[in-house]
Subunit: 338 residues, 2 copies
Amino acid sequence: MPVNHQILLDNRPEGEATVSNFKLVTTETPALADGQVLVRHHFLSLDPYMRGRMNAGKSYAQPQPVGEVMQGGVVGEVAESKNPKFKVGDKVVGFGGWQEYSVVDGNLPGVLRKVDTTHVPLSHYLGAVGMPGVTAWYGLVKIINPKEGDTLVISAATGAVGSAFGALGKARGCRVVGIAGGPEKCKYAVDELGFDVCIDYKLHKDAASLSKALKDACPKGIDGYFENVGGMILDAVLLRMNAFGRIAMCGMIAGYDGQPLPMAYPQLILVNRLKVEGFIVSEHMEVWPEALAELGTLVATGKLRPRESVAEGLAAAPEAFIGLLKGKNFGKQLVKVI
Amino acid sequence: MPVNHQILLDNRPEGEATVSNFKLVTTETPALADGQVLVRHHFLSLDPYMRGRMNAGKSYAQPQPVGEVMQGGVVGEVAESKNPKFKVGDKVVGFGGWQEYSVVDGNLPGVLRKVDTTHVPLSHYLGAVGMPGVTAWYGLVKIINPKEGDTLVISAATGAVGSAFGALGKARGCRVVGIAGGPEKCKYAVDELGFDVCIDYKLHKDAASLSKALKDACPKGIDGYFENVGGMILDAVLLRMNAFGRIAMCGMIAGYDGQPLPMAYPQLILVNRLKVEGFIVSEHMEVWPEALAELGTLVATGKLRPRESVAEGLAAAPEAFIGLLKGKNFGKQLVKVI
């Protein structure tokens, strides 16, 4: 039985999440029953939604149980199999959580998916060609539903979702404007990800100042906005939305730690006849095949070159996660566990 | 040429609107050109949207010009006609504004509509079987799109829009909960308009308290909300929305005078995957025939018994309008000018 290191949620945060909310433990992987598969994790995915699940209160998902392994997406390979559908060495995507190994019932639909790493690196199945990529696709295609020439804006533009959104928006003939933190991220968004413009929100002290920068970047106004952040950025964007604009609400990371952030001008939803819609991509599994096909092609053809921030070793996961919540990552945040 | 009294917008409000923003003037109706019709107004419609148009700033409609007759819906009868489509005595609905007479080009599509007063009193064409009724219909049918058994909530429940919304919701087998100001309005909402429950918001000092009352009134949560008010009421409702709930944003009267009112918990749009959509009924003329047919039938069969607050005489219009903004009206606010 291989030794398995795991990270548990040890206690719930009060206010800001900290590394002391987590605990590293050592255990052994159990013997496999018929139908089960042992997966050796290569990369763990760290995602902002995990912060919401660390709270006890109502969120869109069940809270992460205290004392159990932190849940989350993983990629890896089959180390042992008692299931004829999976053989040792198969590359797979699953939901094995913050640990080195997971045991999975390979017969449950959707829990373990074999992937092809010929043209797409394994880790990208946690990012551009995985949940974050499909998240961008759903918000863009199903909520914003842009037409050629529309102006689109996304916050957290160089993150896993933002990178995919940029490429998907450009592929539809839209003007795509990013918002990110710092000159390095903004340069990368334009030079590597194909954004038309990227605004550094750290140069702006308030919504009025950021809104003025958006006016310059979006001379025809904003038709579609993909919200990852909330707070001051949402207020600034709302001031520039065109009539009949659409806002896909995917995340509000600015308010995840501590106090909720109000929306200053909700009457603009009425004045500009906006549609604002929240969504969770795991509730729309029907779009995944179409979305993954497009995203895989964009990556394989070099039109989407996502960047990754990789923390080394399972023990680095808590600190990398806290950094993600503060915007310290640059691109998709992963933990390499092998 | 009959003498015509008119009320002009004399100056724009700074903060609260007051009667001194308006001016009463006396003039004469002009001679008719070919194709024109002279309409003698019977009732003027006073509506919350007019407050937004009194400001100079960007709103969904062009600002009301200073020095010109206040625009607005009217019902009346044809007093003189140089148009073969209209004859003297025809009952009509138009957009003649705050005056006793208007001259209309009867050939312009949609500006003047003949109505049948056999089963529906003329004044109701400004309320339940007019713009406010269609507003309720659009928000309910096209945005909230309820299924039987859903729980619906509307603020300003006894107003022209709210009354129609209650009847339309009950006709679809929904639980309909109103929010209104004062015990008299709440009793009327339940006894006469058919609401299942009506909550008196004046008994609640903050969103938390109102939200608790909503929990009792909506044991299965809220599936659809029709927003007329904004501010504290919107915050309270958001706390009780079910997953995949829909919010039709029609008005935010609480913020029309003075400072905008923030939305305290926009992250609930995400957490509960809500759809929030602003709309203006005049941009959806395609639904009017279907909506008016249903509303006319509800009134003619006694299933919708709308109440009216009638101010007497053109000169009373400004004060009645200010009262409407403060919730002093009880039902559809009209001005009787003949």
